[in-house]
Symmetry: D2
Subunit: 472 residues, 4 copies
Amino acid sequence: MPDPVRPWKLSREGPGRYLDGRPFGNTSNVFECLFSSAASYTDSSDDETSPRDKQQKNSKEIEIAEQEMPALMALRKRAQGEKPLAGAKVVGCTHITAQTAVLMETLSALGAQCRWAACNIYSTQNEVAAALAEGGFSVFAWKGESEDDFWWCIDRCVNVEGWQPNMILDDGGDLTHWIYKKYPNMFKKIKGIVEESVTGVHRLYQLSKAGKLCVPAMNVNDSVTKQKFDNLYCCRESILDGLKRTTDVMFGGKQVVVCGYGEVSRKGCCAALKAMGSIVYVTEIDPICALQACMDGFRLVKLNEVIRQVDIVITCTGNKNVVVRENLDRMKNGCIVCNMGHSNTEIDVASLRTPELTWERVRSQVDHVIWPDGKRIVLLAEGRLLNLSCSTVPTFVLSITATTQALALIELYNAPEGRYKQDVYLLPKKMDEYVASLHLPTFDAHLTELSDEQAKYLGLNKNGPFKPNYYR
Amino acid sequence: MPDPVRPWKLSREGPGRYLDGRPFGNTSNVFECLFSSAASYTDSSDDETSPRDKQQKNSKEIEIAEQEMPALMALRKRAQGEKPLAGAKVVGCTHITAQTAVLMETLSALGAQCRWAACNIYSTQNEVAAALAEGGFSVFAWKGESEDDFWWCIDRCVNVEGWQPNMILDDGGDLTHWIYKKYPNMFKKIKGIVEESVTGVHRLYQLSKAGKLCVPAMNVNDSVTKQKFDNLYCCRESILDGLKRTTDVMFGGKQVVVCGYGEVSRKGCCAALKAMGSIVYVTEIDPICALQACMDGFRLVKLNEVIRQVDIVITCTGNKNVVVRENLDRMKNGCIVCNMGHSNTEIDVASLRTPELTWERVRSQVDHVIWPDGKRIVLLAEGRLLNLSCSTVPTFVLSITATTQALALIELYNAPEGRYKQDVYLLPKKMDEYVASLHLPTFDAHLTELSDEQAKYLGLNKNGPFKPNYYR
Amino acid sequence: MPDPVRPWKLSREGPGRYLDGRPFGNTSNVFECLFSSAASYTDSSDDETSPRDKQQKNSKEIEIAEQEMPALMALRKRAQGEKPLAGAKVVGCTHITAQTAVLMETLSALGAQCRWAACNIYSTQNEVAAALAEGGFSVFAWKGESEDDFWWCIDRCVNVEGWQPNMILDDGGDLTHWIYKKYPNMFKKIKGIVEESVTGVHRLYQLSKAGKLCVPAMNVNDSVTKQKFDNLYCCRESILDGLKRTTDVMFGGKQVVVCGYGEVSRKGCCAALKAMGSIVYVTEIDPICALQACMDGFRLVKLNEVIRQVDIVITCTGNKNVVVRENLDRMKNGCIVCNMGHSNTEIDVASLRTPELTWERVRSQVDHVIWPDGKRIVLLAEGRLLNLSCSTVPTFVLSITATTQALALIELYNAPEGRYKQDVYLLPKKMDEYVASLHLPTFDAHLTELSDEQAKYLGLNKNGPFKPNYYR
Amino acid sequence: MPDPVRPWKLSREGPGRYLDGRPFGNTSNVFECLFSSAASYTDSSDDETSPRDKQQKNSKEIEIAEQEMPALMALRKRAQGEKPLAGAKVVGCTHITAQTAVLMETLSALGAQCRWAACNIYSTQNEVAAALAEGGFSVFAWKGESEDDFWWCIDRCVNVEGWQPNMILDDGGDLTHWIYKKYPNMFKKIKGIVEESVTGVHRLYQLSKAGKLCVPAMNVNDSVTKQKFDNLYCCRESILDGLKRTTDVMFGGKQVVVCGYGEVSRKGCCAALKAMGSIVYVTEIDPICALQACMDGFRLVKLNEVIRQVDIVITCTGNKNVVVRENLDRMKNGCIVCNMGHSNTEIDVASLRTPELTWERVRSQVDHVIWPDGKRIVLLAEGRLLNLSCSTVPTFVLSITATTQALALIELYNAPEGRYKQDVYLLPKKMDEYVASLHLPTFDAHLTELSDEQAKYLGLNKNGPFKPNYYR
């Protein structure tokens, strides 16, 4: 335990207790510490706000988030009679934000008990964590954890006397990994894992392949609704937002090369930039995606064909070393380089950490890398995901993910013995459709209902599912 | 046999024979008949052309089509050494067009023998049929067949002495159905069926489900490349073209309701019309598709909410009775109604054939249906598919389908015993990718190759397949 | 019955002679000739229709056009009490189409007498001319006039005993030119000229500059509403339509170079093609337009930089010899070349009429020009305007022009002495706004009215004009 | 050293007094104050930077700005031989930013002496002001001036012994107004005024109308290049950026009403939001603009028709009280209201300052106005211009304005006696074209040159101007 004095630790070691007793004592210390390091990256005006105001503001942020997460609120309402998660003890490991707070409060309203850690050392909104703690939730997280802190927090979620989780809600697989490694026996009581991230899902499939997955797992990441929203509708806006907030670049007339033409790239990046007047080139390895790029009006090139002329380079491949030092050497002065893909390996950033190159941080998340001849490359988020690092995720998108997570927990928790084996599952189509339908009222959208005759003609149940599971 | 004097029948009953003897006698009769009824619907200037010129022009049309079907030409070239279809006897039932001619000539170059009928009583380009016949192919088809003609032609393809097919290439399933019904023993020698249409594939799955499918079948319709092209890239252009050619309507400012928001509708119809300045409303039954419509910027409504105000109604659902008499009664004067979906059942056209309504044909494929108060509805193609009836399909799109068909034939014909069972298969991903790659040179598109390191990182073979089979 | 001696009547009553003495025979011949060569280019199904049906159909076409020209119908209604053109004798020279018929009938309803000739030897819809003649109008025009016919018809409009025009409605300036040349004294009674075309307006400005314009003239061509519609909204649709009808080309992925980036090009061609998935390059001589092309996302190139790689070349400059033989020599096989500009001089078509090149007409308006090595260029409309030759103009666009013409006639005819001198004028902004407002109901569009306070703040009259005259 | 008494120097050299006697203390105070309240709105990470670093960083910002203002750098280069502004004494009143610094340094390189004040009390980048002062320029400005400060600074620019301006560069007309009011005799030596803003230009036209304009003035605001960039290309990006930075709203599926359909609105706001998946309604008073909105695919409504359902309200009219309390009362909870027009009068913000409504500042530039029933309206920038308040202006756009200003100064300063009278002029078209051409290299854009023959055909000089002055 490297650091004996950390805020939440302190508060947890003090007179109060989370789950049972509440409140848990000396928060003032905590808050002092928290607020000195404050400043969520989405809020540049914090400096004008006093700590007191911040806290008030924050429960308000949760309140505002509630308004934009209508589906969770609808779930809460429907749960007033019945408690589908009564008896559920959910241990979670996700980003700690106002939206997560709405999810946790919803799970609680559905009958569950929750203990939570952060899945990322930077992303915790401290005020939200504090507000949740005030509200009686056991949250172990703060912005700027060390790696040791990170694992310590996770451990605190599960290693607690008198409370044993029976459901896991994970984002990245770290929590699942920790339990596998430290407390494998705990799985005997666990009814299922709900996993949200690409990485976490990948790990689960590997476990399953190796015959080591010992409970059913629900792959939330690949649910259609989430996929479409995260990859397409969200990236379409965050590519513009991320570039603008970091560089103030004008998009009109800029030449851009986008590496990869999958869902993220297609409408997410390429279409948005094209709409703003950029000239977009695409690179691809898969001929089918390549042909789609052509038909959508993008020149398909090899990176080296255009590297000298482009103003912006964006990677969205999921591959590694897509942009390497040789490419970076040939870029023109002022070229912006960033990553919208699924990993931080796409740009070989390590290759830029050599003595002849000078790094200069010009803004948060923005580095100028300077060549001996004075040429500057503008590297965003050090090659990590632009949309997560330099942009915000609209609450509405998070609402879809959170609702899907809640439904996946309900499904796994209530499924009759034998419906799910020790394998990785996609959310049943019908529940995916249900998630979508809960979000339609936001748009004042009116769904058409099948007539009996039409349902019969199509061989469908009038209430869905309307598409086969594999349909995207 | 209701009609003793039909052109191809005549020629086939005369002195010559197709496959063996050639030529087949008294073509002059045939041509006279053909050319008096001539005029492909895509060519409004035929009246200026003499029959003689037409025939010349037509082999030229095949020649021109060859230039736009580079993938088939590439296949021919690669086949110069080896004949992957040597010994194959292919019986086909498709639209008879210049593009089909290029396919047939390619199959022939690959070593196959072909006998062909039309899958549609209207779509045959007589000059192409004639040119193919001149070139030695056994083609049984003409524009404007009766239903009896239709089945007679199909029968002539298979019911022939001394020649028995070992491969079926079908579009709609009628040929397959005929063989099942009349010559079931023929399947003993048949190595496989390649089916192109939704309907035909549906029939095959039903056979398979019922345990009655007795040879392997390849579902070409659902190959990714074909799907993307037919549904999206093609419809995007043909919705505009079909409406313009039939009605000369100006798109700017028009209010349009599109029923259904699947692939055809999404980018195909809605995006194209939006780009031209129309205001587009969408109806949907599936909440996932509905949410996508919302996010793409279309108001999601029930048909009745907007039926009084829209200028154009387009159906793309695959469902039946999507637009019924009640809706038609409420449309405003001059409203255009058409169908881009998968069946001719979407608009309840039968309900318009009542005594109080007057029908008036104002152009080919365009009817005015007139209410007693003088209100006119403009009904296109009597509710059949607009894109097939009133627009043209670019050769490039047909090239993708034809190449896929050719590869599917090669795959089934050469597959080692046991690779394919008596079931319906999708084209292996790798061959789908191959089809796409053969079309990239058209766009001067340059594919990126994986490095060894990247292939290893992704767990892929450097030459593909690059995506799982279910990937779209 | 405004005119006892009508051309159709005349010609039908016995053999006559053209002005220069050529006999034009009896009308039955004329009609036979007319209808056998009939077939408006917008109507591919004429061959199925008998002459009798055609004529019936045509008054129906006028009726249908009336429904899409709501502004003229509104003018007619308002004229029921008052006849603003009472006493006006309008001689016109325009395209003779169903839409012109609606205009003429409107002028007549407003009190005017009309005599009309065609401004183009090909564009007359014979059935419309016949229907107008039947309705009592003096129309001198048929499809396929010789140049002598053309001038004879014009002469017949003005050279008539007992009737002298006091207003001119011209499209191209030929009528005005004829009167200047043959009957200059006629101008003494003429109150004004309304001119619709670029060329005609140019001629008027030259006359004015030379001090030879002897009556006020209204430049209808440059009215804002007409400009926006003709140049932008109309071309946006007609570029796609014209290319599709002539070549069936697929737009997706095609490389296109557009010469010139004015109004026609900008949204008209470039934006439409971009929306359909083409990759568009632009050439420009004016740096301001060039910069706009850049910001809109088009690579600005010199023609020679891309001429080898493009699939389609479109000229929209108003300049001459923009595409010359040297460029044509370098194009790739199958390249499509067409003109959307203001003249037929943009493509140096004459340079293609050399012995080593073979011309082959493949469809109406489509020529293949074939190089000795077999390379084919697809030349549309022999370099004349694609949108006029190969596409249709929506009635709604023509409605705007026709309404503007009618209002310009009313304005000039009723203007108090001295308001207009012997000069060329633009339509007063307020009347331009009135034309626009008459077309809004078509879109169910609701205009906002200024409050008194707002009008005062802006220094405007509540009823307009809302913008200065130069505003576009 | 043009001016021994510079403000920064002054203030740093000891306590001073404002014009009206208020003391403004010693500079160290000033700097402390400046940097503690610092934080340019474009830079959210200032809190991590020490004052020392900030200043270093800032001359770097000027350096970076230089790279994106290639046209000014080109002017500097051309001025190496000749000094077109030698002897010019320019007094300026503009926003004080890195881009202005590049302009001032350019004017200086061209031979001019400069004294400068800020045209806005909030927009000064203090570090830039400091860097300019360090570099020897007389700059009187800081972020957060009071109104008295504001006029004091302006006065300090002109009221200085031994230095009298002969050129005015104004943005808003306040400087011009001050000289008119306080030092009218100064105009005797002034050769001209260059004015950049709508308001300032309006004032000049009023002066001219009243016969009180006593020197020539150049209206830079209405130069084509500036207009297109500021109104269209810039707003297209800043509407998205401004909304995103302040509210993180997701655009997809949002219903938006845009009041006014002029240049700003048209492509600036409406097209950008449409491209991001919003459903956009438009209100207009001018039927011509209204018809364009219809043709571009937007429903034209009165505000009240949609006010209950929209998620975002944007004003771009230039009018006053476009959104009034009655509208605000009817908006739904969470509705965002902002202004992109030319004044801060469009939204009647004053009407919201009533006791029953609660205002809550949730972020910088973002207020929640809360109704008694809990409904919240999200008001941005208190109704001031969103694009200036909540977004950044790309350097490239400012480069165009700054280059135009520099050329206007050169033109007025060097014009032969009599070319310009005491009136308001637009920049000659040719210079406008020159500004554009200086910016083309940024896009690697290649302009086509007219041949002699073409120039003759068009009646143009080969080097321009290519369009009449009124052309946009």
